[in-house]
Symmetry: C2
DNA sequence: GCGATGCTTCGGCGCGGACCGAACCGTCGT
DNA sequence: ACGACGGTTCGGTCCGCGCCGAAGCATCGC
């Protein structure tokens, strides 16, 4: 038999507080060095090194050596999805969970979820795309949508060829409503970021709207 | 700070092999007694009792006392979703994973994933619903779909009012293609089961097609 | 009432693993 | 060449927790 324990092995990798802190830090989508991960987790570099080795062996992290640094990132969107589901479940059922509330208002308005926009801005983007008819109710790209996304420099054909679904709804952690994930979600995020319309706050998953007048047609505000 | 360790707490519940076996057993959608879970996990009743207490406290399981038995089930579809994501990730990246192969052929053709149909039959259902135009490509119920589902005694309005998404694509574990989850996926499964067209194999997640001639319009075979 | 059955609590054993200090290896700067 | 710095490996300590045997409560059947 033994059909089970593999999922336990993966869960075990997330089950340690230090490793969990590293993984949530990597949810910001940036690669981090081993030392930064150690600081993020609040452990010494030796300890962090052991944790990292385990997560790489388990296929959750991939590392790239660059000079004397070693940059690490989540191995793919599926890992990020798993972590997001976990956060969602914790948020809904967590017993003594400290409500995010206004504690981190920046995280409520706009945050990055691995590689796409989340928070209330993410929900606004999702709703506006549908309201403007760029996506239909089932998150399928429409004719006008095709034109608008191509105009942003997004290669829809390439997205459709990829294994990753182009459009995926992702239930938002703070807003408890859908926002847009998937390949298109990621492509839109990088398009906005490349143009400087939104910028990441360093050392956090929060995102700032740098050019509200340019973003307004996309967020409906 | 301390933003992390909550997800570690939940992951820790899945990280133990015995608990993981219990959870996968409950993925069949049936409530099981504490003793059955102990047998499924391969541990003594006392040990199982401790595990169960932890998982109930953690909000993953809910229990209902009935006479001298205690029936336990997953606390909701979100827990099942989390477990399914975990299995998917394990399957894709798992190192020494024993391929399911023809070992359990019944599990390949039709199996239940918490409360809806999966396996190749689940994929066939998904594809046929779209091919017959009951769902569009974005998994939105069409006019003909509304009629057909209502004909099966499914209350679409109620599904749409529910918090749970009506249609959700779930990447299949064995087929690696989408099948239909969400409220409609669950409703279709119970409709087919109530009519006796499909039956669950006792003690397994496998499902048998009892009335192929009735299921054929739904599976396209 | 009685014993049988299902489940839980308690106590104690033993393994796994998280952690750090110290030492070691590579790479970058000067 | 040398030292500084990032990262890893090695040993040893210690706590957590998974496990079971035995005993304690409930509920069912007779």
């Amino acid at each position: 038999m033994a059909d089970g324990p593999d999922i336990a092995r993966v869960a075990h990798l997330i089950a340690d507080p230090a490793r969990a802190r590293m993984l949530t830090a990597l949810m910001a989508g940036h690669a981090l060095t081993a030392g930064e991960l150690a600081a993020e987790a609040g452990v010494t570099p030796q300890t962090a090194s052991g944790h990292i080795a385990k997560m790489v062996a388990g296929g959750m992290l991939v590392g790239a050596k660059q000079g004397r640094h070693r940059y690490l990132r989540l191995s793919g969107p599926d890992v990020a999805d798993l972590l997001e589901s976990l956060m969602e479940l914790v948020d809904r059922r967590g017993p003594a969970r400290t409500r995010p509330g206004p504690a981190e208002p920046a995280m409520r308005t706009a945050r990055i979820c691995y590689d796409h926009l989340a928070g209330s801005a993410g929900v606004a983007l999702h709703d506006t795309l549908i309201a403007r008819g760029l996506l239909d109710a089932g998150l399928v790209v429409t004719g006008p949508g095709e034109a608008a996304f191509t105009d942003l420099g997004i290669d829809l054909a390439a997205l459709n060829r990829a294994r990753r679904p182009t459009c995926r709804a992702c239930l938002d952690w703070s807003e408890r409503r859908d926002h847009l994930a998937g390949g298109l979600g990621a492509a839109l995020f990088t398009a906005f970021e490349d143009r400087g319309w939104i910028v990441r706050r360093p050392g956090s998953r929060a995102v700032a709207i740098a050019a509200p007048e340019r973003m307004s047609p996309w967020l409906g505000i």
